[in-house]
């Protein structure tokens, strides 16, 4: 393998995390009309990390390719990825089809092959379904090592070994793995930059390859999970004021808290 990094960054379009999602009237899903969508924040961190790797190793990185599987409008977040530093991108238009992590991972495996990528950086989870599966499944399908929940990533230029620090209970764990590799990003990995005007303009001229699910006809998109019902969590009942410690103890006893 020549010494070059070809980074693939899968990004997902999700309901903006500053927006409070509402359950639809039928109770079958989340209301999506008239709601603001943005790039999954962990994927935003993944794009930023890819760009930072290029900034740190100018000659090493050959290409940063973003890919999104989702509705046609996912091209908005691909443009954002391009404006923030990706070179090229692919939109895999799934129209209204919602894919589960395994199907996504299977499609991504084919994209990895097509792009000849040797490093995949993606968010550890998307904030809509919170699955935290895709990266791990993709690594499994590719039979590549995986470094999940990365809080720090260093690449050794000569050996092409990645050193990844992860936050664990009570400290840090550092692991190293040779490329090719799948890295999933944790919250504190970096702070994504803003998309600047000149880069937004350049992004419009960068290539966007368009594909559809039909191009991956060997991947089953049939859902394996069925959502039975979505409900709001029970609302917390209002607090009560007590006048004295004795009263407090009495109340606690009455609800069998002590």
């Amino acid at each position: 393998m020549s010494k070059a990094l070809r980074i693939l960054v899968p990004v997902k379009r999700v309901i903006d995390y500053a927006i409070k999602p509402r359950i639809n009237k039928a109770g079958t899903g989340v209301e999506k009309t008239g709601v603001k969508f943005s790039m999954n924040p962990f994927d935003d961190i993944a794009v930023e990390e890819a760009v930072r790797i290029r900034e740190a190793h100018k000659k090493l990185v050959e290409n940063i390719h973003a890919v999104s599987i989702g509705p046609t409008k996912a091209q908005d977040i691909l443009r954002t990825a391009l404006a923030k530093g990706a070179d090229t991108c692919t939109l895999i238009d799934a129209k209204e089809t919602e894919l589960e992590p395994l199907a996504v991972a299977k499609i991504l495996k084919q994209v990895v092959a097509k792009q000849n990528a040797n490093l995949v950086i993606l968010g550890k989870q998307s904030i809509d379904d919170d699955c935290n599966n895709t990266g791990q499944m993709l690594a499994g399908l590719l039979n590549w090592p995986q470094a999940t929940n990365a809080a720090k990533v260093e690449i050794d230029e000569s050996s092409l070994v990645a050193k990844v620090t992860r936050e664990i209970d009570g400290g840090e764990e550092t692991i190293s793995a040779p490329l090719p590799l799948v890295i999933t990003t944790d919250l504190r990995l970096n702070q994504p930059r803003y998309a600047t005007l000149p880069n937004l303009m350049k992004a419009k001229k960068k290539p966007m390859e368009k594909m559809t699910l039909a191009d991956f006809s060997d991947v089953s998109t049939e859902p394996r999970l069925q959502v039975l019902k979505l409900e709001e969590p029970p609302t917390r009942s209002a607090g009560e004021k007590v006048a004295s410690v004795d009263e407090l103890i009495e109340k606690l006893k009455s609800v069998k808290a002590i």
């Binding site: 309901i15 995390y17 500053a18 924040p41 404006a83 904030i127 919250l187 803003y194 005007l197």
Partner: protein, 543 residues
């Protein structure tokens, strides 16, 4: 007015910790955590001045308590207790000086009120005012106490009439968009209520988490939506006001068109509580925009700021909803204040512009904004810029504008001037002020022995409204003398207004003559005498 007041939350008897809540309203744990990391505010400096405020009466020894006013007696308390419950009456005690009600948030003024009344009904307010009028007890109406000119706090021992507990939404018509609510409803709550119905409150300002709907009407606050939705003189459709003699003036049956004689409600919009206490407001709310974009631009000169403004108006026309400018010094202070948060633009520019569009169709707005920005970059009026890609980036960009008041306060204190000037000469006041402060050897960003840190300028270009903030290490008469009446004379010479949106209150009460002529002042006084002959409402202020 209070666009640049901080968002605060008061705990009743303790001065609230001035670290802002980190908008922890996200939809799950993960995203809340994302938000915190994106704008880590834990290391933000305290904003309030380190020196507790002196009593206003001590700072201004020439000002005397008017002897016509009665001093509070036990009989008065007996009366108030007969119409109000215990929780509606707060009295000063040995270890509680009612500081929350006696001090302004800038900690520049401190009154000596011994009694705070917090009625829950309009009738109670009517009874209170009638009693106070009959007995010549001075009263200061108070809303969220976020004012910037000391207008809502007592000077001597005036009774504080707090509208905090008069805080119900009365009705909302989802067809016409007319909201009717009590004066004590917090602006943010009113806006959240409207949001649920697909509408938006026609004004917004930095203090929205504390300020009251009644307060913004009484002070005719401007804020950031003025460019889009116009002033409260247009959006307020009716008011309910208790007059000093206890009579209730009601025009809440809001009509958009009503040409039957004097439009009396206008008299109270901007009256600053001097001729009546606003207790109810009906206001016309526009539909909430579905798509909002924010750009933060670096600009080379004040001339270029104006060019960008003209282009923005032409290219964006109906979707342009805010156009704010900031000078480099204001961003330098904000950078110090928001330690550890990286500024949106890598390089420094003499001026920055925050531009916001709001519309109903994202694709349409995006295309317009893109075309405008591209043009502005190409012709060189904009040197660099960023565009928010998601809601958090959008809020963080606003943060760089909204944190300026806090930042200018963080070094110790701030002298605030809020003026209207012809657009062409808007920024010349900041240059003139800096020049004058340097001439007198009072100003240095690094030398801690100088009283002034720097004079900064920012504001609403769209409204011709400049905020001149003089950030100081401590309040001093010396600095005040250099700035006043200099600033007012400067503004008057350019035919501007000495108070674009903050009002006059206590701070500018002596300077009304710079913006109003003799006949106007005479008429204001006549109206005051007519409706408040005992002058019990908000005394020692501008009328």
């Amino acid at each position: 007015m209070l666009r640049h007041t901080v968002k605060r939350q008061f705990n009743l008897f303790s001065r609230a910790k001035p670290v802002r809540e980190a908008f922890l309203c996200a939809h799950n744990g993960v995203s809340a955590a994302v938000r915190i990391s994106t704008m880590n505010r834990s290391n933000v400096l305290n904003y309030s001045t380190k020196i507790p405020p002196r009593l206003t009466a001590e700072s201004y020894p020439n000002l005397q308590r008017l002897s016509e006013f009665k001093k509070l007696s036990s009989d008065d308390l007996t009366f108030f207790k007969s119409i109000l419950s215990d929780s509606e009456i707060l009295q000063a005690t040995a270890d509680e000086d009612l500081a929350v009600f006696n001090e302004d948030w800038m900690r520049k003024y401190k009154g000596q009120s011994k009694l705070v009344l917090r009625p829950k009904t309009v009738n109670q307010i009517s009874q209170i005012l009638k009693y106070c009028n009959d007995n010549r007890l001075a009263v200061v109406p108070q809303g969220g106490n976020t004012g910037l000119v000391g207008g809502s706090i007592p000077v001597f021992d005036e009774i504080v009439l707090s509208l905090t507990q008069l805080n119900k939404i009365r009705s909302f018509d989802s067809v016409s968009g007319i909201l009717k609510c009590d004066a004590g409803v917090i602006l943010e709550n009113a806006d959240s209520f409207l949001a649920e119905n697909g509408y938006i409150f026609p004004m917004d300002l930095g203090a929205k988490g504390s300020c009251h709907v009644g307060g913004i009407v009484a002070t005719n606050a401007g804020g950031l939506r003025l460019l889009r939705y116009g002033s409260l003189h247009g959006t307020v459709l009716g008011l309910e006001v208790v007059l000093p003699d206890g009579k209730i003036l009601n025009s809440m049956d809001a009509l958009r068109k009503d040409n039957t004689g004097y439009d009396l409600k206008q008299l109270f919009i901007g009256s600053e509580g001097t001729i009546g206490v606003i207790t109810g407001v009906s206001i016309l709310a526009p539909p909430r925009p579905k798509a909002v974009n924010v750009g933060f631009l670096g600009v080379g000169s004040y001339e270029a700021v104006q060019e960008v403004f003209v282009q923005a108006k032409q290219e964006l026309s109906e979707i342009l909803s805010a156009f704010e400018f900031m000078d480099l010094k204001s961003q330098t202070l904000a950078k110090e204040h928001l330690k550890g948060v990286s500024h949106p633009l890598e390089d420094e520019y003499p001026f920055y512009v925050l531009i916001e569009t709001s519309g109903s169709n994202k694709e349409h707005d995006d295309a317009k904004l893109e075309a405008f920005l591209e043009k502005a970059m190409e012709n060189g009026s904009v040197l660099d810029g960023v565009v928010a890609q998601d809601e958090t980036e959008l809020r963080n960009l606003w943060e760089w504008r909204e944190s300026i008041p806090e930042s200018s306060q963080a070094g110790g204190g701030v002298y605030k001037y809020d003026v209207s000037l012809p657009l062409k000469e808007l920024y010349s006041l900041v240059d003139a002020a800096n020049e004058r402060l340097n001439e007198k050897g009072l100003s240095s960003t690094s030398d801690p022995t100088k009283p002034v840190i720097s004079a900064i300028g920012y504001g609403h270009v769209g409204d011709g409204n400049l905020h001149l903030n003089v950030a100081v290490r401590a309040y001093s008469k010396e600095v005040e003398k250099v700035l006043e009446p200099f600033v007012y004379e400067f503004v008057s010479s350019k035919h501007g207004s000495i108070s674009a949106e903050h009002g006059l209150g206590f701070q500018k009460k002596n300077y009304i003559g710079y913006s109003k002529n003799e006949q106007e002042i005479a008429m204001i006084k006549e109206l005051k005498n007519l409706y408040d002959p005992n002058a019990i409402l908000n005394p020692y202020k501008y009328v």
